[in-house]
């Protein structure tokens, strides 16, 4: 279960990376589309949301939505459940933090308020860091446990048990 927990945390972090990548992929495709004389208004955008893409990179917007509103939240819930069985001290707190950051991220992303949209970008980095750390501290703890068993002093950089 430790491995499951660790993998889920890393996959969530990777999911955030994918989110950033597909968004810029789509926006750059949109830039080219407009550059070549394409015009985007609400009517055109809604038609394309229905699967009739105006430019191929538009798939990035859809991936961003699907990954962010469906995949990552499900992974975050699974991470929380896994944390209960992972026998890692404090794991559930970190998993809950990830889940709350995901919920906050979706709220910020869908608020329709540009300033909150900017915070969506900032929160992405926080979520990425927390998810990465949540996975990393499992590995770090495993190493320190092994080290302790072998009688080797642990490094002061080891994350403190919470």
């Amino acid at each position: 279960m430790r491995q499951v927990f660790r993998t889920l945390a890393y996959v969530i972090a990777a999911g955030v990376v994918v989110q950033a990548a597909v968004m810029v992929y789509a926006i750059s495709g949109l830039g080219n589309f407009i550059d070549e004389g394409g015009v985007l208004d609400k009517a055109a955008r809604e038609a394309s949301m229905e699967g009739q893409a105006m430019f191929p990179e538009e798939v990035g917007f859809m991936l961003h939505f699907f990954n962010g509103a469906m995949i990552i939240p499900i992974l975050a819930i699974l991470l929380l459940i896994a944390s209960f069985f992972a026998k890692i001290r404090g794991a559930w707190k970190w998993a809950l933090a990830v889940l709350l950051l995901v919920a906050l991220q979706i709220t910020l992303g869908m608020s329709g308020v540009p300033f909150l949209g900017a915070l969506h970008g900032v929160n992405a980095l926080i979520l990425f860091s927390v998810a990465l750390y949540t996975g990393w501290r499992v590995a770090a703890r495993s190493r320190s446990t092994r080290a302790a068993a072998a009688g080797v002093p642990t490094t002061p950089a080891e994350p403190l048990p919470s």
């Binding site: 009517a43 229905e50 469906m70 329709g112």
Partner: protein
């Protein structure tokens, strides 16, 4: 620190904690699932809008449709709410829907649903007061289809909503729509069965109702003068992938108009989002919104008109005297070019200024008193995570609840109804009430001061709040939904229900009726 718990206790604790997450989610998922067939009358939350109670509604289909035990409650079904005029129709047409490939332009063809072989289908043209009879034939639309008369106050039986006012017409089936063309103006028809897909693929067309000759012109003497010999242009705009089409053709549509002559361009937005239109090379007037003439429309220049999804805007444009063309810009390369043969005009970019119907035109009496409404409703749109029909997602809510727990706005015939539509969902919604014209009283607390702004499709932006009013004068069960049709499939809808009306039709996966 306390002693470490035993492994068994630890495991039990972990199991309980997991259950605390899994059980509520599972319950939410399970309870959100819709039954395989259900009636619109059983759906949602009855709202009376602080108006008088309606006894006939007390057991409105909520006890398995058995009303025998409710004395005095005589129910009519939607099937009985038909056109009262009998005899031969003034306008009789047959509209046949087909699934086929259509060539929009050389080398550009799409999988479409056509009406009489084209998309858009033929324009149904009538004169005000005409009795219209449309025989609808579904030749090959696999899921079944219907025709809804968008913006027309037809009798409820002719409203064309699968699962509410009729069953979807299966392949090989027919259905007859009969109604009086009560109001002059620009309207449209489209399927209201799996509408998000069928409308997208083009199962639609325009309806134009001309005023009775000699009828007074709401626009005033200037407009009447211009309209006397105006060229009448119907511009059904529809997006097929990257192609914005006008009457099924991408790019420019040229219409011959003599210098100094006027053209009335009836723009129909059949898409799911708002569309700005503007005029290059000439001033214009916004002669009508959603079929209703604007009272005293001023001439404007360099302003864009935002046409709501599902809405219509009639632009009155005079071709320039110098022999060049005026262009009605419809976004991208799509435009209607108005001028003498061979004339061209310079395209312009969208003007920064947007015409605001709240202040446009001259005021005139509404014909109803919104200050003493019989009922006042709230239609508050939000969004929150959850399940609808077992699907997880960020779902739309109406008055805090998601589908199917949406409001059933309940009225009696003759009620004056006020409604506040408020949007806190993060995205604009083009709200469409069937079977009624509604008038906009105020936006964000600012009262309307222009011509009465009558609509059937109203774009309510994020953070906006509209006060509207209407007279409940068309008994039936009417949808009141977002015309960004995928949003309606996601549950952004409610119903306007007249007391004492019920429906024998059912929707749900087992019925084949899927209105959105």
């Amino acid at each position: 620190m306390a002693a470490a718990p035993s492994p068994l206790a630890r495991r039990a604790l972990a199991g309980l904690a997991a259950a605390a997450v899994v059980v509520p989610v599972t319950v939410l998922w399970q309870t959100s699932r819709l039954s395989a067939q259900y009636s619109v009358t059983e759906m949602g939350v009855v709202e009376l809008g602080s108006g008088p109670r309606v006894p006939a509604l007390a057991d409105h289909g909520r006890h398995g449709g058995d009303h025998a035990d409710s004395p005095g409650a005589s129910l009519v079904t939607v099937d009985e709410l038909v056109e009262t005029r009998t005899g031969p129709a003034d306008v009789a047409v047959t509209l046949t829907a087909r699934s086929e490939r259509v060539e929009l332009a050389p080398g550009v063809d799409v999988d479409a649903f056509t009406v009489n072989g084209t998309t858009p289908g033929p324009t149904v043209r009538a004169t005000q007061g005409d009795l219209v009879e449309v025989t609808f034939v579904n030749e090959s639309v696999p899921d079944g289809a219907t025709l809804h008369w968008h913006g027309m106050d037809v009798p409820n039986a002719a409203d064309g909503v699968a699962g509410v006012t009729q069953d979807a017409v299966p392949v090989g089936g027919t259905f007859t729509y009969r109604f009086t063309a009560e109001d002059a103006g620009t309207y449209w028809y489209h399927s209201h069965q799996v509408s998000h897909e069928q409308v997208r693929r083009g199962l639609l067309g325009a309806v134009v109702v001309d005023p009775v000759p000699g009828a007074p012109e709401a626009g005033g003497p200037d407009v009447a003068e211009l309209l006397r010999d105006a060229v009448d242009v119907t511009a059904v705009v529809h997006q097929f992938g990257p192609h914005r089409t006008v009457q099924g053709t991408p790019g420019e549509t040229t219409v011959e108009v003599s210098p100094g002559q006027a053209a009335r361009v009836r723009v129909v937005n059949t898409d799911n989002g708002a569309m700005p239109v503007w005029v290059s090379g000439a001033p214009f007037r916004l002669a009508a919104i959603d079929g209703t003439d604007v009272h005293g429309p001023q001439e404007v220049r360099d302003e864009a008109v935002v046409v709501t999804a599902g809405g219509r805007a009639d632009l009155l444009v005079v071709a320039p005297d110098d022999g060049t063309a005026a262009r009605v810009e419809l976004g991208g390369s799509a435009a209607v070019v108005l001028g003498p043969p061979g004339a061209t005009g310079e395209p312009t970019r969208r003007p920064a200024t947007t015409l605001d119907p709240l202040t446009y035109g001259e005021p005139t009496p509404l014909g109803l008193d919104p200050d003493t409404p019989t009922r006042s409703f709230e239609y508050s749109i939000g969004r929150r995570p959850g399940f609808v029909d077992g699907r997880p997602g960020m779902h739309w809510t109406v008055n805090g609840r998601s589908y199917p727990d949406v409001p059933m706005f309940t009225v009696r015939t003759g009620d004056v109804v006020r409604m506040t539509i408020e949007n806190r969902s993060g995205e604009a919604h083009p709200m469409h009430l069937h079977g009624h014209h509604v008038v906009v009283l105020a936006r964000d607390g600012v009262a309307a001061t222009g011509s009465p702004w009558w609509v059937d499709s109203l774009d309510v932006g994020q953070g906006e709040s509209y006060e509207i009013a209407f007279v409940a004068d068309n008994p039936g069960i009417w949808m009141d939904h977002c015309h960004n049709l995928p949003h309606a499939t996601e549950g952004l809808l409610a119903h306007l229900m007249y007391a004492g009306v019920t429906t024998p039709y059912l929707m749900g996966s087992a019925t084949g009726n899927e209105p959105e």
